[in-house]
Amino acid sequence: MRYVRIFSIYFQDAFQYRSTSFVWFILALLNPLVVLLFWRGAFLSGGSPLEGWTYEAIASYYLLLVIANTLLLCHVENDIARRDIQMGMLSSYLMKPFSYLIHKFFSELPWRVIQGFFALIAILFFIFVLKMNIHISSNMSILLLSILITVIAHLVGFLFKMILGLSAFWVTDYSGLQQLVEVSLIIFAGFVMPIALFPDVLRTVAFVSPFAYMIYFPVVAFLGQLSFPQLFQVIGGELFWLAAFYCIYRILWEKGIKKFSSIGQ
């Protein structure tokens, strides 16, 4: 029950800053749409620039990417690194009777809900007003497994961003690291183009990296592009990364908290 209360308090906080949420949503919408526009221009220039993909399939992919981006990708790392660790606000969390991880999870969730809601409205606008078709799987079992993959993907992404934020215990200026992670995410989570279209080496790197499990696999799962064995394989991969990130998080937290100091009057 107390977690519901934390969620409720932070929902009110996030709702108060709904204009900030709206700008984040527009950004999440704008970038895939511009990439889609580029591919549309390529399709209209004649032929199929993306082997094995029709324009309808690629449009469905990028529209689902918008939802995945708003709903799954957390942005806790800046708050953790700058506000909590560098400015010393972490000390206030240490006094509270619940874990920092849980607290951060429920403080981030409302932002995902609000931005996901904006994304849903936008997608409905694309479907009903602009008459765009989104081809998602009609098989109920695949849809249920896709929902499970999406939930685990959110947790994997959240733990990854927590680890990134905790790096501020050791790194004074972490903007370079954040940039490097951001560009890796853009490439290997499938924002540039579906990973299936990558050259062999890059595709292998993408599939063994955690980034594909955060965004790409939930999207292609909903599109019905994964068979049942592949869906279970993805769930296995996600569980591996979830366990690995949780262990890394615990180690970093235990070591980092010993380094942390904050002063005040």
Partner: protein, 265 residues
């Protein structure tokens, strides 16, 4: 004017000293930015593996457009975007009060000199992008004369003024909307869309190009190097647009400051 330039140069000097303190971060910033270039070139490569032109542009021309756009975006990050992010913080914490009491033009102070951030890495990137542009122009055997280079820099300058004014306009909204600290990313995303040929914007999307002068990001500057069309009419329209936006943004800034009520606003 000399006073303002000396003031600004001292900020750059402080910024470079600060950056050299964090060398690992400096290196990661450089790597991540060149990775963005790699991502862009990779997308172009995939699209042109099946096509000869996109929106009427050939592979080499789109590559040149990408480089010019990166040159332009980096210029805005050097001088505009980070200051805009800081403006939200000034309003939220009430620190804008101190800026408004300083004996210097207030718009200049919050636009260009409130926080030192012209980093050495950005200067290196800017020079590298320019050298790559020169190399590609030579590789494509373009008949570029002094006239074309002059037109190129005039377009970059006009684009800089236009998008600085647009950034400043949306950032000024922070006076009314609390914590709109991400709004400059919106302008960044719009500017980033300029790496695509204007010809891909068709149908409903074409309206966007009329509302936001996307051609002034990189398209017109690249066309100047490619000698595609006469530049003079576009330059005249650009000058008028830049002047109009300077006047509107100045009026809006003064209007906003009249409504600014310190941290309690």
């Amino acid at each position: 004017m000399v006073h303002h330039i000396r003031f600004y140069l001292s900020f750059i000097r402080i910024s470079i000293i600060k950056e050299l303190e964090f060398r690992a971060n400096f290196l990661m910033n450089i790597i991540s930015d060149f990775s963005w270039l790699g991502v862009g070139l990779f997308s172009i490569d995939v699209a042109f593996s099946q096509l000869k032109t996109i929106g009427g542009w050939t592979r080499g021309e789109v590559q040149l457009l990408l480089l010019v756009n990166m040159f332009f975006v980096n210029l805005l990050w050097m001088f505009v975007f980070q200051k805009m992010a800081h403006f939200s913080e000034l309003v939220r914490t009430g620190a804008l009060d101190f800026a408004l009491t300083k004996p210097i033009n207030h718009r200049f102070l919050v636009s260009f000199a409130s926080v030192p951030d012209v980093c050495l890495s950005q200067i290196i990137k800017q020079l590298s992008f320019f050298l790559l542009i020169v190399a590609l122009v030579s590789l494509l055997k373009l008949p570029v004369t002094l006239y074309h280079w002059t037109a190129f820099f005039v377009f970059i300058f006009l684009g800089f003024i236009i998008f600085y004014c647009l950034s400043f306009l949306v950032t000024t909204l922070n006076v009314w909307v609390v914590r709109l600290d991400n709004v400059h990313y919106l302008v960044d995303s719009v500017v980033d869309a300029g790496k695509n040929p204007l010809g891909i914007w068709r149908g409903v999307a074409r309206v966007v190009v009329w509302i936001i002068p996307l051609g002034y990001t990189a398209n017109f500057a690249t066309k100047a190097l490619l000698s595609i069309e006469p530049q003079l009419p576009t330059i005249i329209i650009g000058i008028m647009l830049a002047a109009l936006l300077l006047v509107i943004s100045e009026w809006f800034w003064r209007f906003a400051i009249r409504h600014y009520a310190s941290a309690s606003s």
